[in-house]
């Protein structure tokens, strides 16, 4: 018998435009102990479903028109608010949200938050017992230092640690049914792998039933027994994971599958021989004050001695866990940050001294597309003004001519012309990113930097944006720097790769070579932690233990030695220098030669 069941659920949303159907689910059932993956892009109603199950959906504007949600045979929709709170929420159903920060109250320590939850459910536990219980839970979710985590505030934790605390909270009440709403979105691949592993382990240990919501099929395929595809508020297909991947019935499912296949697609190398950008020993240190420990003027080495060259027509992919300095590197190259030391040459000219002299040519030639297209477009401007902004700065054009150029640019990125007189909020994430790209092209730049261009938009649009970037590159002969923590994206577009760790480039080389035969232990760990469609269960997934050390106090010797699987004695004493391996390969590792020659 099904443990969790949804029948004929129909939810509508009312706005000034009228009433709209957001969710219509005929039938969905999850057996006890099963993991069910619900896959769909953002905006297809995944979160609405999760909220409706918990009766947390805001009504109005939402309205549950009809249907039933059965948990263990009991219709949740028939319960009133008090009953939900006392009997279901927390005690039977627990939920993990996609944004761990927003569900932890920032003014309380982790210990206080845990105590509150345990008190509310526990029923007459003593103070000491509660503390023991909280510690036990934190240990259960494998937080390295449970004791000290108890006294930390949420903002002092990293994204992965926060998500672990959330999981601990979800476990606190012993719920049997867990709803995980994109729990690893915006987390690094390494952390994603360890969170997934943890969830799987806990599920098996506690015999929980899990509804796992994701926007990515490869995550689900590794994690779930059965999968349902949500599109336009309906479940268009559901099946056992293996069967669904082997024989998708719907066109949309095939698109989703296509989106996560990374094999056999990668950019061919470019040999133009013409140097466009050269970065020499670039450093960017931030002076920071640690208000908590009252230490003044600490030095945070966000970018530490980085050098590379980029040729015309190439795409350089920069990868690495968040906080490793990718954005700081490009922002410093772009002169948004004052560089601490080092030089940047663009077409042979020294950029920093040029900018000091008030030379605007560099700004015209180098443009950037930011990660989040919602915030990178001024919400109060019309699209035509947004796209025309660079034209205003660099060219004096009449109104009509300007409009013509804007239209050309928009059609170049595949946005229809009547977008001109709309505002950014009228577009989806993917469309907004296209508009941002159109703007970045308006000054006819030679180098376009893309800082995580796809990480805040859904899978389906990601594919299209990637195709667009590829297409534009060919047509306009652009050179690109592409930052992404999604290795698939980089694999597809880049012909050079730079792997960053703690402000330094640890491996640099032609993309094909690096992907086929990663040398640096960090690169290897990074590649191994990505689930693919062929990953079954969690055993194929290697995780990188530990966290990135603080860039304020990097460990001595090789900064990676605490997490490195290949570390030897020398590694903690002697800092590796970049070493040329031939074929344009550069690796910073003491054991680079051994590892290159197949050392395991």
């Amino acid at each position: 018998m099904a443990y969790f069941e949804i029948n004929d659920l129909h939810i509508t949303h009312k706005s000034f435009e009228g009433v709209k159907d957001v969710l219509q689910i005929e039938h969905l059932e999850i057996r006890r102990g099963e993991t069910y993956g619900l896959v769909g892009e953002s905006g297809q109603g995944k979160t609405i479903l999760a909220l409706a199950v918990q009766q947390l959906l805001a009504c109005p504007p939402g309205k549950i028109e009809s249907g039933e949600i059965l948990l263990d045979g009991e219709n949740l929709l028939a319960l009133n608010g008090r009953q939900m709170e006392k009997r279901v929420r927390g005690s039977k159903i627990a939920m993990i949200f996609q944004d761990p920060m927003s569900c932890l109250n920032p003014v309380f320590t982790v210990g206080q938050i845990m105590t509150d939850v345990l008190k509310a459910r526990g029923g007459g536990m003593k103070k000491k017992e509660i503390r023991e219980c909280a510690l036990g839970l934190l240990r259960e979710v494998k937080l390295a230092d449970a004791e000290s985590t108890m006294s930390k505030y949420p903002h002092q934790l990293s994204g992965g640690q926060r998500q672990r605390v959330i999981i601990a909270l979800a476990l606190a009440c012993g719920a049997e049914f867990l709803i995980a709403d994109e729990p690893t979105r915006n987390l690094d691949v390494t952390i994603q792998a360890s969170i997934l592993k943890l969830l799987k382990e806990l599920q098996q240990k506690r015999g929980m039933t899990v509804l796992f919501i994701a926007n990515n099929l490869s995550l689900v395929s590794a994690f779930c027994d059965r999968v349902g595809i949500l599109y336009g508020g309906r479940i268009i297909e559901q099946n056992d994971t293996a069967a669904l991947i082997a024989a998708p019935q719907q066109e949309y499912t095939r698109v989703l599958l296509e989106a996560v296949k990374t094999e056999s697609r990668s950019a061919e190398p470019v040999e133009s021989g013409e140097e466009l950008l050269r970065v020499e020993h670039l450093k960017k240190y931030f002076d920071i004050n640690d208000d908590i420990k009252h230490q003044k003027h600490l030095c945070l080495k966000a970018v530490d001695d980085v050098s590379f060259t980029l040729q015309k027509g190439e795409v350089l992919g920069i990868v690495g866990e968040s906080g490793c300095g990718k954005s700081t590197l490009v922002n410093t190259i772009l002169n948004l940050y004052e560089p601490t030391d080092g030089k940047v040459f663009f077409e042979g000219e020294d950029v920093f001294s040029g900018v000091k002299k008030g030379n605007n040519a560099f700004k015209k030639n180098v443009q950037i597309v930011f990660q989040d297209p919602y915030w990178s477009l001024n919400p109060r401007w019309l699209i035509k003004d947004i796209v025309a902004e660079p034209i205003e700065v660099y060219e004096r054009l009449g109104e009509a001519e300007k409009l013509k150029r804007v239209r050309e640019l928009l059609s170049l990125v595949g946005i229809s012309e009547d977008a001109c007189y709309k505002y950014p909020h009228e577009f989806s994430g993917g469309q907004r990113q296209r508009i941002a790209i159109a703007r970045s092209l308006a000054s006819q730049p030679k180098l376009v930097v893309l800082d995580e261009p796809t990480s805040s938009i859904d899978m389906f649009s990601q594919e299209q944006i990637l195709a667009l970037i590829k297409d534009l590159r060919k047509r306009l002969q652009l050179t690109n720097i592409l930052i992404s923590h999604d290795l698939g994206v980089v694999h597809e577009l880049a012909n050079k790769i730079a792997v960053m760790y703690l402000g330094k480039i640890v491996e640099f080389g032609p993309a094909e070579d690096v992907f086929r035969h990663p040398v640096h232990p960090y690169t290897r760990a990074l590649f191994d932690s990505i689930p693919t469609l062929t990953t079954r269960g969690m055993d194929g997934l290697k995780t990188l233990e530990g966290q990135i050390p603080s860039p304020i106090n990097p460990p001595p010797g090789c900064a990676f030695h605490e997490r490195c699987a290949y570390a030897c004695e020398r590694c903690s004493q002697c800092a590796p220098q970049p070493e040329e391996l031939g074929g344009g390969r550069m690796v910073s590792c003491l054991r680079a030669r051994e590892l290159e020659n197949g050392g395991e």
């Binding site: 000034f16 948004l336 989040d372 990178s376 919400p379 902004e389 205003e392 007189y421 909020h425």
Partner: protein
């Protein structure tokens, strides 16, 4: 023409949405209707009032201090003037002065706040210390002091109120500007090469303005009160201007026997201020992106 329609389309759309949001809350809808009526009354006061000559120095001693009746809905004052006429005309005086005072404060406060917030450093320091000085006096006291220096009169009162009021907007806008400045579109404008001034006026200010507008619409009520207060003390509007505060001040000697002289201007102030506060709340709700659809 086609272009014009296209340009207007999103605005019409968002106006319709605003109305929808406003109409959802009955109280704010009522406030809006009352205020619209009030504004109409203020604009067409000359035509509407039954005794136009009574708003000036006319005197009909023979009918002085009569209680409300069919001819004089709100009774008459000590010179026999029709209080209804004077209260309706008072709407024009109060609204015009309040809008003037708030508008002037905004005109000073917004650019200063935006400049302080986006430049930071010593510019910020100088502007903020200046606001500190103004804010260290109670606003009413400061206004009284300034009127005392400049001489009493409606225009001076308006000026004095603006001068004591702008620092609030400067602070509010500066706080917003500091956070908006960190938004990506400002950084994007910087990489594009847009000039500093243009960034401030075209990118930063339009994105900081919502809370200031909410604050301003709530303040209109407060300013009407302050003006009435100054006039009550004899520092604002002068006789024979039909200003509500001044009328209460004159009627006070006859209270409570001739209650209508004080009560009706008082009720006018009460309703106006209440409606502006309710409207401010409603505007905040409308401008809040959370209540708007994505």
């Amino acid at each position: 023409m086609n272009n014009l329609i296209q340009t207007l389309r999103p605005r019409i759309e968002s106006f319709r949405e605003s109305l929808y949001l406003l109409a959802r809350n009955k109280l704010s809808l009522i406030a809006l209707i009352v205020l619209v009526l009030l504004v109409l009354a203020a604009i067409f006061a000359n035509v509407l009032i039954p005794y136009p000559q009574d708003i000036a120095d006319a005197s009909h001693i023979e009918i002085k201090l009569q209680p409300p009746s069919a001819e004089h809905w709100m009774g008459t004052d000590e010179l026999g003037r029709d209080i209804f006429s004077r209260v309706v005309y008072g709407a024009r005086v109060s609204l015009r002065s309040a809008l003037g005072a708030v508008g002037l404060s905004l005109l000073i406060g917004i650019p200063l706040g935006a400049i302080a917030g986006s430049f930071g450093g010593w510019v910020d320091n100088v502007i903020m210390r200046l606001t500190d000085i103004f804010l260290s006096f109670p606003p009413l006291l400061l206004a009284i002091a300034m009127v005392a220096i400049m001489g009493s009169g409606l225009n001076n009162a308006i000026l004095a109120i603006s001068l004591s009021w702008w620092p609030w907007y400067t602070r509010l806008l500066r706080g917003q500007a500091i956070s908006v400045k960190e938004r990506k579109f400002v950084q994007a404008a910087e990489t594009i090469g847009t000039s500093r001034l243009k960034i401030i006026f075209k990118h930063i200010i339009p994105n900081c303005i919502s809370p200031v507008i909410v604050q301003a619409s709530m303040d209109i009520g407060g300013v009407i009160l302050t003006l009435a207060g100054l006039s009550f003390l004899g520092l604002g509007a002068q006789l024979p201007t039909p200003e509500w505060g001044l009328m209460i001040s004159m009627g006070r000697t006859y209270f409570p026997d001739k209650w209508w002289y004080c009560i009706f201007p008082g009720v006018a102030i009460f309703i106006t201020v209440l409606c502006f506060n309710l409207l401010g709340d409603a505007i905040r709700e409308i401008l809040d992106p959370k209540t708007r659809k994505k």
